[in-house]
Amino acid sequence: MSDLRELYQQTILDHTRKPRNFRQMPDANRAADGHNPLCGDKLKLFLKIDDQGVIADISFVGAGCAISTASASMMTEFLRGRRVVEVAGLFEKFHDMVTRPLEAQPEAAALGKLAVFAGVREFPVRVKCATLPWHTLQAAIKKDQAPVSTE
């Protein structure tokens, strides 16, 4: 069970039980659906991006496993107020954290609280759960490329 305790950290379980920013957003200007057919995770992500390219609001709804729910919850907390142009770089760091060995991650510190997902790297089948909200976020951002760009 020691590895599993690494995966199911208290912070993660707390976000699973009480997901933050778990709500519809009728006035969102970006939205996308994410689906992980392996475990049936489904989520819908909402974004409100302002004229300066800042994520003014972000929320999600859906049903997923503990890892995907907590990942979505913590991602929304982490990204509110950040610029859309930062997202691609942050996702790359997050992706590296959950897939690559510890020593190959000089930049993990930039992820702050999201570091609790580092335990996912021991469970390759759960990588999709942890990254589903991020993939969905990218889809939401790319859907309308006019005012903002991740480049």
């Binding site: 069970m1 599993l4 199911y8 496993c65 503990a66 469970f123």
Partner: protein
């Protein structure tokens, strides 16, 4: 996540509590399965995902090795002794498959990759000859995707449509609705024998009788029934029956389509190639006899022989014995799981076999699967290729325990203890 092989001592042989010789003894049968002797996460493996695929006994592994070591040659081609021997072994496996489901003739047994390919074969070959625009095919709400999608493809090609027999909240077919679904345009009824997601055993004989009264042929998906109970296609009286080798102790990549002889005779080939022809010129080819007409190219010879060995192994134990024992073990599993608070069983049909699906309050099935895996217990979580069933119960997924005759009460006790861990983590 590594799986290591470590020989564990067999359960003490002839203790006072040992069953008498000849009696059904799952603990002894386990010794026939090398993979059941392995450990996962440092714990002896408890394998409870048999509806996905079964483990393989030594007898099947030995048959594969023997074939490749002593018998390997292409079939139906060589004049030399080795090819003749390989052909005989392959055709002998066909005889065994026919006997296993009480088919009238081995010539009605077509070897395919599995149940999925068998259904696709029927949809692709029989389908266009019998199903036209405006025609209808009846399926049930509890079908596996492999008994939905091939018919959808056929419908798209032909302009026909699917009609769906609903299920109750217990996971039983709404047979009272069946009468309303039959129309003069009904061309086929395709139904699963046992639901892979719910464990429901459907009254296929009764369904066939209702369908035949209206002149509608019936395909029975036996992927989940062939491994768990005696099958007699003459008694069921269906027109097509399909099953997979790998779910019944055989190798992957081999399965069976059985169809009535006259239906197979009338069907066009599924794929073209060697062995399925009688003569070929650039102007015209003529087809080989059934079943060879449907077996283009070099088939899975080793797989068929392995399936034959699996059938010998299962019939050696006795399908009636297997059915009876699994029924008892399912009752025990149900009792054990029902005693766990916050756990809810999905599918409570009266007639059930081998499969038990459940959900837990506040815990996604994927997390249940991950945590019990940490305890060495392998179960399936997800939609089990039955998204319409999940939709019926308004759930994204279930955790599913599926049994085989080599599972024991100790396995179920380990499962129950592992589920207690799930509760601990999510407490």
């Amino acid at each position: 996540m590594s799986t290591s092989i470590s020989k564990r001592p067999r359960r003490a042989g002839r203790s006072a509590a040992a069953p008498p010789p000849g009696a059904f003894n799952p603990a002894a049968l386990r010794a026939d399965f090398p993979l059941l002797q392995t450990t996962v996460h440092g714990q002896p493996l408890v394998y409870l995902d048999n509806a996905a695929t079964s483990q393989k006994p030594q007898a099947v592994l030995a048959a594969l090795l023997r074939y490749y070591s002593n018998l390997n040659a292409n079939i139906h081609r060589g004049i030399y002794q080795l090819s003749a021997a390989a052909t005989a072994a392959y055709e002998n496996a066909r005889e065994k498959a026919a006997q296993f489901i009480q088919a009238p003739s081995a010539r009605e047994i077509v070897f395919v990759r599995g149940s999925t390919e068998a259904i696709n074969l029927v949809a692709a070959s029989w389908g266009p000859a019998h199903v036209q625009a405006g025609d209808e095919i009846i399926l049930s709400e509890m079908e596996h995707h492999s008994n939905i999608v091939p018919w959808q493809l056929l419908s798209q090609r032909t302009g026909s449509r699917l009609r769906v027999l609903p299920i109750t909240d217990a996971g039983e077919l709404r047979l009272d609705e069946l009468e309303n679904l039959f129309t003069p345009r009904t061309r086929l009824l395709a139904i699963t024998h046992i639901s892979n997601a719910l464990g429901t055993v459907n009254p296929v004989k009764q369904i066939v009788s209702l369908a035949h009264a209206r002149g509608v042929p019936v395909l029975v998906d036996g992927a989940q029934s062939a491994p768990h109970l005696p099958v007699n296609v003459r008694d069921i009286d269906c027109d097509f029956f399909v099953f997979s080798g790998h779910k019944m102790c055989g190798p992957t990549g081999i399965g069976v389509l059985w169809a009535r002889g006259e239906i197979l005779q009338a069907m066009e080939p599924y794929q073209g190639g060697g062995d399925m022809i009688s003569s070929v010129t650039f102007e015209k080819s003529t087809w080989n006899e059934t079943p060879h007409k449907f077996e283009a190219g070099t088939p899975n010879i080793a797989g068929a022989i392995g399936l034959g060995a699996a059938i010998d192994y299962l019939t050696g134990i006795g399908m009636e014995q297997i059915e009876r024992y699994e029924h008892e073990l399912l009752a025990y599993t149900r009792e054990k799981l029902s005693a766990i608070g916050s756990l809810r069983l999905i599918g409570t049909a009266k007639d059930r076999a081998a499969v038990l699906s459940f959900v837990m309050d506040g815990v996604h099935p994927h997390d249940i699967g991950a945590i019990v895996d940490g305890e060495g217990v392998a179960i399936r979580t997800g939609h089990h290729c039955c998204q319409p069933v999940m939709d019926h119960f308004h759930i994204p997924a279930t955790a599913r325990v599926s049994l085989a005759f080599y599972n024991t009460r100790q396995d179920i006790d380990r499962l129950a203890a592992a589920i207690e861990k799930v509760k601990e983590v999510f407490a």
